[in-house]
Amino acid sequence: MSAAAFERCMIIFLSLLTLLISSLLLIILVTVFIKGLPALHSGFFMEASENFGRSGGIFYQLMGTLLLMTGAVLVSLPVALGSVIYQTQFLKSKSLKEVCRLSAQMLNATPTILFGLVGYLFFGVYLKTGVSWVTGSLILSIMILPTLQISIREAIEAMPQKYKDTGMALGLSRWEQIKSIIIPQCYYGIITGVFLGLARAAGETAAIMFAATTFSGIQFPETFEDPVPTLQTHMLVLTQEAANPKAIAQAWGAGWVLLALVFILTITAWILRSRLKMEAEL
């Protein structure tokens, strides 16, 4: 075989491989949907689960997941925003900046189950929040902190220097610059970060499985000390009942909802990022 023919063959082979990997996403989506079809019925979103998850819907599980992720972002956002503003606007020392950057990287790489263990110990045992949705939100808020920070930092660093120079020339104080220049110019970064953080929190199981969630017994938390049922825990418990086809179908159904939730949040984040970024640059 000549060299040119060999190259052409390799390129065709690689393009097929790339096509295969790109279609992996579609394969996963379709598989989960088809497998979950027996469980998906009109009331799947609005009904409580019955018979230990083997029939019924996933209303309270979905609510639990939404509650945990919203709580996590509400706690995480002020800390992420404040720390990034401090690091970019106030902190002078190069080495301290490096320390902050490294910490964020390390926090991002930490295995999520460790957040669950240590978070439960710190919040649940020492601060006495127990196994509850509050503990879960706090644990997730630490977990998504780096995600939010990265988005906000990228937006702040992409802002043209002349905006800040103009602010300084107008005699604005540091806080006024932040309030009226940096935050309005960089809000697309904040919003993108929020959505990506929500998506990351929605997909997480290990960190909350023994600190915040329950499989049955509770539908919606009435106090701060109640655990919540979540989609992730629901799936985890049902998956382990591999012999029961009804339970597995429910797990697939829940999985499809979870997958859809994560994808919608991620894609919304992208759309908002590109649209708001253009607005901010006007």
Binding site: I28, L121, F210
Partner: protein
Amino acid sequence: MKNESQCMMWVFACLNFMFLCCMGGLFFFLVHESFPIIKLYGLDFWFGQDWWVGETYGALPMLYGSTLVTALACLLVLPLALAVAIFISEFLTSMNRRFVKAVLELLAGVPGIVYGLLGVTFLSLWIKDIFGLLDGNTLVTAACLLSIMILPTVLTLSEDAMRAVPAEYRENALGLGLSKWQTAITVVLPQALPGIMGAVLLGIGRAMGETIAVMLVVGSLDRIPDPWFNIFSSAQTIPSKLGREAAESIGEGTHWSALMALGLTLFLMVLVISFMGNRFLKRERKL
């Protein structure tokens, strides 16, 4: 005005301090909680082969399982990721390239529990049938599943590294009469090597910490496979051990301390690997 700025600065500084505390606190608690077991066993904790709750604690089977699963996943993912990364960075038009990258980013966001369900339902049965095993929950199953999970990360980052190779290198090579394929293999690939190393290390870091998916398909058997290279036997990794047992003894006792010592080990391993990975990626960016 000045006072207000000063005041807000302290607020931001406090928030930044809280963020640093999260990282410091995590490390502190892991060390603090694993101290009793390390005092009790010393280094033997990491070399002990038996783990019987209430009697003896040895971490070697889990350490070995984690290492082997991660290494296998890495071996599986590397050729595929490299081949596709070359194709995306050197042969695709920029619009197709952006599309594939977006798909990869979505793939990276698929929750671990969904992969776990796919692994339990399909992969472990396939492996059982193909290799004629009694139980499909083996090291190989976990490694295959992990390799699919880290593929998007490794692929995207190594593709970034290849794109970062300056265009003059390519133009020179093409000007010397090399074909596009030869340019990709002999010029771009070697230049992007540090970045690819970084991508693989970050992928390894992610694979090591993955809990749920691995827990469901690895078989959860606290034993070093016999013989040691038998990848078709059930085993246990550190995160899957933590996931299985932490609920039993949360907060107190020797068992908890032993689990936290496992956690500390995992934390340090992942930290070193991803630190090195980030160093490689940074060096790439400076080029």
